[in-house]
């Protein structure tokens, strides 16, 4: 539990007239200066003053979402829906990846890019597939992400995709100085893209290289924008903030499988509710031999690797 030095309850959020207009003036003035200085003249004063998502009232959240949808429509010329589905009760998501079946075809990588509106240029990919040596096992000294043979799998190699492990004890959440990233009740570690200051401490803290930064202005062609988004998930991100896999929160909180699970041609990816004893993820945990990546770091990931054969 973080010690919140700003114990502002949602219902205490200011909506009285006088203070609102004073805030608005101050906000506009500061935003104008900030805008001029940072070259980001398009920041509205509402965006500048927006607080951490966890502290917003229902009304403020609706305002934020309405504003975002307006901005996306302006930017992409399309109707983008920003959802805010809460975690389902009684659900903690688990993920299992069959290393004996992954052939390293990278279809998961690109399905994820399309589903989650990742920047095409500069390129961001939430999933990285490592080509490893069968003889060495999971030994990162012999890992290669840039393999590009004519066909996969290659003799003597196996393939290990890595993405956010949605740890139960996430080091990234621990180190964020502003509390812009946190673990939701269904186990998904999320980022508030409007609160992140881009200090990248979380990227230094993540042992899996799962967090990615918008070094430049992200570019997603309008035609390829996925319009079904979630505030904490795949809505188009701004420059200068961190992003990562969210187990397709916009899909999974509606009962769908993540995009990577659905696209995998060999069925190497399994996903479900860890609290449901009849789920396939529980079957894997109970019947297969699973291991956790970098287990000695005690991050307690909800992502498991196993060998199906």
């Amino acid at each position: 539990m973080t010690a919140d030095l700003n114990p502002r309850k949602p219902h205490e959020s200011c909506d009285c007239e006088g203070e609102g207009s004073r805030r608005a003036f101050l906000g506009t003035a500061v935003a104008a200066v900030a805008g001029a200085l940072t070259g980001c003249g398009k920041i509205s004063h509402e965006e500048f003053l927006q607080h951490n998502f966890r502290e917003l009232s229902k009304e403020e959240v609706n305002d934020v979402i309405a504003r975002l949808e307006r901005e996306y429509r302006e930017k992409y010329g399309r109707d983008v829906h920003v959802g805010n589905e809460p975690p389902m009760p009684g659900v903690i998501f688990g993920y299992a990846l069959d290393l004996s079946r992954c052939i390293g075809c990278r279809r998961c990588v690109h399905a994820c890019v399309k589903e989650n509106n990742q920047s095409r240029d500069p390129e961001i990919q939430w999933i990285r597939v490592l080509q490893l040596d069968k003889e060495e096992g999971v030994d990162l000294r012999h890992a290669d992400q840039y393999y590009n043979p004519e066909e996969v799998p290659q003799e003597g190699h196996f393939y290990m995709p890595v993405q956010c492990q949605q740890c139960k004890k996430p080091p990234c959440v621990k180190v964020c100085p502003v509390g812009a990233t946190w673990r939701e009740k269904d186990g998904i570690v999320v980022v508030d893209y409007n609160w992140c200051i881009g200090c990248r401490y979380c990227m230094a803290a993540c042992p899996y290289g799962a967090r990615h930064f918008n070094w430049g202005e992200p570019h997603v062609p309008s035609a390829e924008v996925n319009p079904e988004t979630h505030y904490l998930g795949n809505r188009p991100r701004p420059k200068g903030v961190v992003e990562k896999c969210t187990f397709c929160v916009q899909r999974t909180r509606k009962g769908l499988y993540p995009a990577c699970v659905e696209i995998c041609p060999t069925g190497s990816r399994k996903f479900g509710n860890l609290l449901d004893p009849k789920s396939e993820i529980r079957y894997v945990l109970e019947n297969k031999r699973v291991f956790k990546f970098k287990e000695d770091l005690n991050t307690q990931p909800n992502f498991f690797y196993f060998y199906g054969v």
Partner: protein, 190 residues
Amino acid sequence: MSSSVAKTFHPCAWVLGALLAVSPMAVRAQASPPKGEETSTPEGIQVPKPPFSDGIFPCTSCHDGKSMKVNPKPRQLTDMHQDIVLNHGPASRWCLDCHDAADRDKLHLVSGEKIDFTVSYRLCGQCHGDKYRDWRVGVHGKRTGHWNGAKEYLLCVNCHNPHSPHFKPLKPMPPPVPPQSIQAVKGGAR
């Protein structure tokens, strides 16, 4: 719940369909069921229809028991079906080990029981029991749909050509851009 599923099923099918349409997958292996052509097995599993080659079914249109005599001798076929390369198990394996000699529209189990092509997985499961058990609970092979609701399976034969079941290698999609090549987009200032 159902209305939201209906609302969200569409984009899901869209995305999946579009992705499958453009991805350079091998035709036979890793096929996805065309939407709307699914059947429910006796166990209640949603699977696609068997992926027959065009015009090949029903087999009894040729193998009616009258114009052709049944020849139960294991041999290399020369008159017809030469396109089928049999590479499944030991060299002694041949067609009538799975296809029923008396009724070509069916397969037969070891017990002699005849089964439809729509439940061919029961035949596979006789030898590949561990895979069959895993497949039943969704842990073997691709399964799409809802993690908390309806799911679509694939038949074994949708991914594994029963005559030559070994997975064909795929061409990998492009590798990531290495960090030294990530540059600012020209004129990309905000």
